[in-house]
């Protein structure tokens, strides 16, 4: 059983996730779309906190909300004037997008609700993963430990830094 507080928190988070993700893809001002994306990412971070992954929630806020959304805002302000509206959608593209999204929703939702018994599993008890466990899992080379992907990601980030500098510099 959940406490009343966590139920209320859950409904606030689920509602804000749904509402803000709809608004992020339908608003006509692009800067507002970035702001609604920020709220959706915060809702996802709260979901991570509710599921006892505090480290992941902190990473989500630091990297997504602190890094990626700021990048988006910079790029938007560099490439368009703040007051600009995007032009109205044609009804054809709106119908196409609506069909694709509704098909995905119906097929995956039907499979999830009627065919997937594990989706109704109750939440098992879990100790919060402490920093020592996370660090040893990230840095270990044993079974179920992630040193190699960690190094691969670090090389990827280095390549990304160099690529970003090369692509975006003045010619």
């Amino acid at each position: 059983m959940e406490s009343t507080g966590s139920l209320i928190l859950y409904f606030i988070v689920a509602l804000s996730m749904v509402v803000f993700s709809v608004m992020a893809v339908t608003t006509r001002k692009i800067l507002r779309a970035a702001t609604y994306l920020l709220f959706t990412l915060f809702a996802a971070a709260v979901v991570y906190f509710m599921l006892d992954y505090e480290f992941l929630g902190a990473v989500q806020i630091a990297v997504y909300a602190g890094g990626i959304v700021v990048l988006f805002v910079f790029a938007i302000l560099l490439t368009s004037r703040p007051g600009d509206n995007t032009e109205r959608l044609t009804s054809r593209s709106r119908v196409l997008g609506g069909i694709a999204a509704a098909l995905t929703l119906v097929v995956a939702g039907y499979a999830l609700v009627s065919r997937c018994a594990i989706a109704f599993a109750a939440r098992p008890a879990m100790e919060n993963p402490d920093m020592e466990t996370i660090g040893q899992t990230l840095m270990g080379t044993g079974h179920g430990q992630y040193l190699l992907p960690f190094e691969a990601v670090s090389v990827l980030l280095l390549a990304c830094i160099i690529g970003g500098v090369v692509i975006a510099r003045k010619r």
Partner: protein
């Protein structure tokens, strides 16, 4: 009332569908990138939820999400560098006006 996995999976599914809709309908490249972030984030939530509800002692979903966040950050930074470069070249980031790839 008990919050089972489906209560977390359905909002994530809805978020993914919003991303699909936005990716198809938007014409501005940055708005398309925003829709892409929505989809990536929905998938991250699914990883975490399945990890937490099915294998609470393991960390696979959590570390997949961690690496997915890192790769999403790298991908966004590169994509925005490309978009700004395109904006310098043609003063426009509408995907319909970008139909030739030369400088």
């Amino acid at each position: 009332m008990e919050l089972t996995a489906i209560y977390y999976l359905l909002p994530a599914l809805f978020m993914f569908c919003c991303g699909v809709y936005g990716f198809i309908t938007r014409k501005n490249m940055i708005a398309m990138l925003i829709s892409l972030e929505l989809m990536l984030n929905a998938v991250d939530i699914n990883f975490v939820v399945f990890n937490r509800f099915l294998y609470p002692g393991a960390f696979e979903g959590m570390f997949f999400t961690l690496f997915a966040i890192a790769i999403a950050a790298a991908e966004t930074a590169l994509a925005i560098a490309i978009i700004i470069n395109i904006f310098r070249a043609v003063r426009n980031i509408d995907v319909r006006s970008l139909n030739e790839m030369k400088f």
